[in-house]
């Protein structure tokens, strides 16, 4: 079935690498999801004409996102070095790399969150204001519930994007499935290992997307 693979040696390596990828991806998505939601809300609320309109805050957030998003991830991960050292204590290794992924994920998700919130009907927000709801209540009970379905889809998208980022973890000493495919597969001309990893990733991403779609449909209540 898989020529050229010594499963006794490769099996545990695959298992460890999968564990590392799971660790990196889940932490980065959790942190990215949370901070992305906060930053995205901040961006939306401080927009002109919105609940907490504030030009300065909006401009600052907007500029940071526009710096982070177009920068290729591997360059950003390196450039973040000093910040990473301050927060994690090191600039290479799995935790340092996870931090860089979390930062990138936060700003990527922030933009998605902002776009999803913009599509919430302003009339519904006005109705809540007319009932005497405070901005904080409107965020919790109107904005997020009304945008929940696309927010879940956005988070699914983020999870897949972060999985993609995690593949180059090896460049900063973080390990993971991508590193395994490159060091033990590609560089040793063992294509079977590359394809086993690819197959594993495809199955995982398909599964995540299916769950995301299902949750999003449920959130829509249809």
């Amino acid at each position: 079935m898989t020529p050229g693979i010594d499963w006794d040696r490769f099996g545990p390596m695959l298992w460890d690498a999968a564990g590392e990828t799971l660790y990196m991806v889940s932490l980065a998505v959790l942190a990215g999801g949370f901070f992305g939601l906060c930053i995205g809300l901040g961006l939306y609320l401080t927009r002109r004409g919105n609940l907490l309109e504030n030009r300065v805050v909006f401009a600052v957030l907007n500029v940071i996102i526009n710096i982070v998003r177009p920068t290729p991830f591997i360059i950003l991960a390196v450039a973040l070095g000093p910040v990473t050292r301050a927060v994690v204590g090191r600039i290479i290794g799995i935790d340092a790399f996870t931090f860089a992924m979390a930062v990138t994920a936060s700003f990527a998700y922030a933009r998605l969150v902002e776009q999803n919130l913009v599509s919430v009907d302003p009339g519904v927000i006005e109705a809540a204001r007319a009932m005497g709801a405070s901005p904080w209540r409107i965020i919790r009970t109107v904005l997020i519930p009304e945008a929940l379905a696309p927010l879940i889809l956005g988070l699914t998208f983020l999870l897949v994007a972060v999985t993609d980022m995690s593949a180059i973890g090896g460049m900063l000493g973080a390990g993971g499935l991508g590193d395994l495919a490159i060091t033990h597969g590609y560089r040793q001309f063992n294509w079977s290992i590359v394809y086993v990893v690819v197959a594993l990733m495809v199955v995982a991403v398909q599964g995540v997307q299916a769950v995301g779609n299902w949750l999003s449909r449920k959130a829509q209540g249809r």
């Binding site: 009339g123 519904v124 006005e126 109705a127 809540a128 007319a130 009932m131 005497g132 709801a133 929940l148």
Partner: protein, 353 residues
């Protein structure tokens, strides 16, 4: 004179301009009172400032200058946090209904109670009572997207009434509905006004809505109130030219333009349009009879406003020319007359009225 529940005092709202567009004086020095317990209409074309005006009442928009006094409280002096309890005493319904898609019908009505801080245990009973009142009890578990426009507006009304407000603001509440559903929703608003004593402020661009439910009406144009009065007198004696256009558009009882031209072709005799007021058309026909002139109705209509007749009839007068002239003079003493002349000597009145 009933006490005012809402008073505008030189209220002005200016939206500042930007590089691309000039500033807009959406509401421009408006002063008038809305009485407790009445259904008050505000009519005008889009952009006349009526939506902004109604938003000054619950301070969704703040006045630039002047003041709005609601239930004795001057809103201009209140902070956003102090305004929230005031808003809870004012219900509002919208053209696009603005229901939460993420909640059921019952959940939407319940939302207003949650915002108002009702104890959890008392909410369900109140929601059931409200849905019963607007005739939506059976759809309590449905989602807004499963309902028709009229049903959604009923839910909007239930939600607006949840906290027993003294004032209900209806912003183009029937503009997205078909005529039959409009009648149902207007009937519900009248019921709310009569049974619960809630003051209703109706924003509309349809004179038929004013005719059907409003006690008094303000006509707005370019941020100013150009006419204000009881609905019946506005219909029977409109003063401003905008009001005349609204009334004639709604009534369709006076021939103008092509219609009048076609009418002259078919009826070459002397045409006069007589206004029909509280006494009906009898006085006009009595005058004709006295002058031995017969009048055939060739155009017109009579409807009811506030349970009194309103309308106009266009008559083709036949008789000796001197008698017809005398009859027209006589008519003017008993009713409003618009002499259109005969086909040979037409009198053109460019301004519709």
């Amino acid at each position: 004179m009933p006490a005012p529940i809402i008073s505008f005092r030189d209220a002005t709202k200016v939206f500042p301009g930007t590089r691309r567009r000039p500033e807009v004086r959406a509401v421009d020095g408006v002063s008038f009172d809305i009485h407790a317990g009445e259904i008050f209409g505000v009519i005008g074309w889009s952009g006349a400032g009526k939506s902004t005006l109604v938003r000054l009442i619950n301070a969704l928009e703040r006045t630039t200058s002047g003041s709005v006094i609601v239930d004795g409280v001057d809103l201009a002096g209140l902070t956003e946090a102090k305004l929230r309890p005031v808003r809870r005493g004012i219900g509002m319904i919208f053209q696009q209904f603005n229901l939460l898609a993420s909640r059921t019908v019952a959940g939407n009505v319940c939302y207003a109670l949650e915002v108002a801080g009702w104890p959890r245990a008392e909410r369900a009973a109140r929601v059931a009572e409200l849905l019963e009142y607007v005739g939506m009890a059976e759809q309590a578990g449905a989602r807004p997207h499963q309902l028709s426009g009229g049903q959604r507006q009923r839910v909007g009304i239930a939600r607006a009434l949840a906290t027993s407000p003294r004032i209900l603001l209806a912003d183009e509440a029937t503009s997205a509905l078909d005529p039959e559903t409009t009648r149902d929703v207007l009937a519900l608003l009248r019921k709310v006004n009569r049974e619960l004593g809630i003051t209703v402020v109706v924003i509309t661009h349809a004179m038929s809505v004013v005719r059907d439910i409003c006690d008094r009406v303000a006509v707005m144009e370019q941020g100013k109130v150009v006419e204000l009065g009881e609905t019946y007198s506005v219909f029977t004696r409109p003063q401003a030219s905008l009001t005349r256009r609204f009334v004639s558009g709604a009534m369709g009882d006076r021939p103008t333009g092509d219609v009048l031209a076609a009418l002259r072709e078919r009826h070459p005799g002397r045409l006069v349009t007589v206004g029909v007021g509280a006494e009906g058309s009898a006085p006009a026909f009595r005058v004709l009879a006295e002058h031995r002139v017969s009048g055939a109705v060739v155009f017109g209509g009579i409807t009811q406003v506030g349970e009194r007749p309103v309308g106009a009839l266009t008559l083709e007068l036949e008789g000796a020319p001197a008698d017809v002239d005398a009859a027209v003079v006589g008519l003017a003493q008993v009713c409003d007359v618009d002499d259109l002349g005969g086909a040979a000597h037409p009198v053109t009145n460019e301004e519709p009225r």
